[in-house]
Symmetry: C2
Subunit: 438 residues, 2 copies
């Protein structure tokens, strides 16, 4: 939950950002209903980079956009990954009840049309519906502005079983996660054939998006689980302030930022290395519902909290540092010869290893789901979301280290888990999954 980045990385990152700012082609148009677009927003597949491997998008708009801002739906990559993390989340996983490929394609086409309309701030159906028919849109978003809504689709491994004739197109990287030490996974909060991640600065827009896609999918999908996230716990843009998670620490200081096109290409976007060309330009989404045992945490001394995390609580600075973005020196020792960042500190184990250089783009949210009926304690924590080029080089090795030794394990429980392959962005005339099913 803190910083999976190697020592010293923040320095080079900050140097990059200084120069990247000038190259960021963000177009902003003021006023209600105005579009805040990527420079090449409507260009779809035309906005590829000149380098081999993954295609690259221009850098996204800043996060303090007005409530009227819209994020373009069609682009090289799906929105909701490199988009500066919005404040609120609604996430749903679905099981497919459709039994053939035509029905699956029909669902994804319908979802694409509806999702594009909603991300523009428009209702799913016409605003003057037929009185004798149910409205095409459930209505709770009427009058709200687009609020930077993004809707991102993911495909679970179930899509590639015997039902849809897609077994040969299953990416090798879309494997079930291994069982990690200390997993307390609940089947009802895990897995799913399809995922919808809806993010917006207004939670009503995110809820509305999931609800309306679920409604459109009736007969083809049933919702398997749903998670509301009330506050972002990561920044994915250099323009954003690092937020705090429910343990009170700044979370994601060294997260990948979308402006860092090279890191995005090397660690987030699926490129030519994939065994499944249909997924090129996509990414893998790993979701983990991580309950925090906040009552135990809150009884822990400040010194112990800082030792467990490996950062100072007030500032986010590393031990011995003064400011959040001071470089982390994992080799530094104190006057007593002990490492300043403890051997089992979260940031040491979450940091990219020298061998693997594992980096992920985190995009998680704080959640609370009321009281745990068994204990009377708050069921609250982090709905962790990470995007990566390949979970086998991203989340899995990081989580293996954390599960084995992280001092934080005493204060958290992983209660839900899912992996989805997110297809590339939708080009002009295209639809979600057209590279797989079209």
């Amino acid at each position: 939950m803190a910083d999976p980045s190697p020592a010293g990385q923040s320095l080079s990152r900050r140097r990059f950002l200084t120069t990247a700012a000038a190259a960021t082609g963000v177009a902003m148009v003021g006023g209600m209903g105005a579009l805040v677009g990527y420079e090449l927003a409507a260009g779809g597949a035309s906005a590829t980079s000149g380098t081999p491997g993954a295609p690259a998008s221009p850098a996204p708009a800043a996060s303090d956009a007005p409530a009227s801002a819209t994020v373009p739906f069609r682009d090289v990559h799906q929105a909701g990954i490199a988009t500066p993390a919005q404040d609120r989340l609604a996430f749903a996983a679905f099981d497919l009840t459709a039994t053939d490929r035509a029905a699956l394609g029909s669902l994804l086409r319908d979802w694409t049309v509806a999702a594009e309309r909603m991300t523009r701030g428009e209702p799913v159906g016409p605003p003057e519906p037929e009185p004798l028919a149910p409205p095409d849109d459930t209505g709770e978003a009427i009058g709200l502005r687009a609020g930077r809504l993004t809707i991102t689709v993911g495909f679970g491994s179930g899509l590639f079983d015997e039902r849809f004739g897609l077994a040969a197109r299953r990416p090798a990287a879309l494997a079930e996660l291994p069982r990690f030490a200390g997993d307390f996974l609940e089947p009802a909060r895990s897995g799913g054939d399809l995922a919808i991640q809806a993010c917006a600065d207004d939670p009503q827009l995110a809820f509305h998006a999931v609800r309306n896609l679920a409604r459109l999918g009736r007969g083809a999908v049933v919702m398997r689980w749903f998670q509301l996230g009330f506050g972002r716990t990561a920044s994915t843009s250099s323009a954003q302030v690092t937020p705090r998670n429910l343990q009170g620490f700044k979370d994601g200081t060294n997260n990948i930022v979308a402006e860092d096109v090279e890191l995005m290409r090397d660690h987030v976007w699926v490129g030519d290395e994939t065994d499944q060309p249909w997924l090129r330009g996509g990414s893998y989404l790993v979701a983990r519902r991580i309950r925090m045992l906040i009552e135990s945490w809150d009884r822990t001394s400040l010194g112990e909290q800082e030792r467990v995390i490996g950062r100072q609580k007030a500032t986010g600075a590393p031990p011995g540092g003064a400011a959040e973005h001071d470089p982390v020196d994992l080799a530094a020792v104190g006057p007593d010869g002990a490492p300043l960042v403890a051997a089992d500190a979260h940031i040491r184990l979450a940091a990219a290893s020298a061998e693997g250089n594992e980096r992920i783009l985190r995009r998680g949210y704080s959640y609370t789901d009321g009281i745990d009926p068994q204990t009377g304690l708050l069921d609250a924590g982090l709905f962790f979301i990470a995007f990566q080029k390949d979970p086998r080089q991203g989340f899995i090795p990081i989580q293996r280290r954390l599960a084995a030794s992280d001092a934080l394990n005493e204060y958290i429980r992983h209660t839900g888990s899912a992996v989805f392959a997110c297809p590339p962005g939708v080009g002009p005339g295209g639809w979600w999954g057209d590279t797989l099913l079209g």
Copy 2:
């Protein structure tokens, strides 16, 4: 969930608002950390009206205040009632484990100090805590601005049982609600000795407030239930736009607005009529968790939805009207002689009756708590909150009519219920409950 107001009332209300605007003494100071105050904010008990009965506050500030805005904690009435409804809610009910009056008083004093600090945007404890001790504040609100946070306390009937020697001070109006037809109440979502309503424009602030009061209360209270509300479903100020609930309808068009000092005095604030002088200047909070069967609702035709509610969905106008605030004529009939507002329409039954003139100040929020594990359908709806001078002249008669005949009952289920007496505001040097316990 729609409009408990008699026909024609909106006209006189709008006339009132036109003249009230000039009298509204709102002081706004720009810039970060600035206070947006009531004119007589810090004056506490000095801001009484000249009329007998309930004391009155000046009108509250507009709802589009900056994120830095603070709502004064000390005032004639508690904040969070007349305060223009903030966008997000965290609500908790607690059972007291404390067994004597001294411990109860100590809890309420501690809560008062902490609540006042948090509503100022300050942490519960000093920002430079002792490393060997747990931090006094859980930390997730550090760096956030006050976000118009209000924290409102309520006393359940359990406070007046044999434990604390307060039986003689129990208000007659603080009775358990009768069982209504069609109640599906869950004990784990109902009742409680104490309530905390935290409202803010940032949900992290509201969550933080409840969590920290729960933490401070350890040993004296255990949390009984908790509810997050992600979007307000009522306006309580004439400056606010009417929001839509999860049925897609504008909700609260004819709600009492705080600027209407006469309605607030007559229907919301406890006045001289109370049998318990300690409650004068307070109010009664009725909370109902109303699950909406949104999948059924979404399959219903637009015409039927509008007939059930008694308003047009797109505009919020009454049948035959053109605009949201057009007066509702419950006696009007169509060309076929049938009433324009059906006999079992929600707004007809929720409207104040000619005999009782029941009016309540609604301050509810949309909620979603994931999937109903028994059905796989979304557990979402309205966390209804209403304030009133006396539930026996407010919520109870209204809900009796609704439970008996409301066409909406086919699409909703009341799953939680609680009533609390909210003491008056805290004056200089005072604390929550000092008029009861001090």
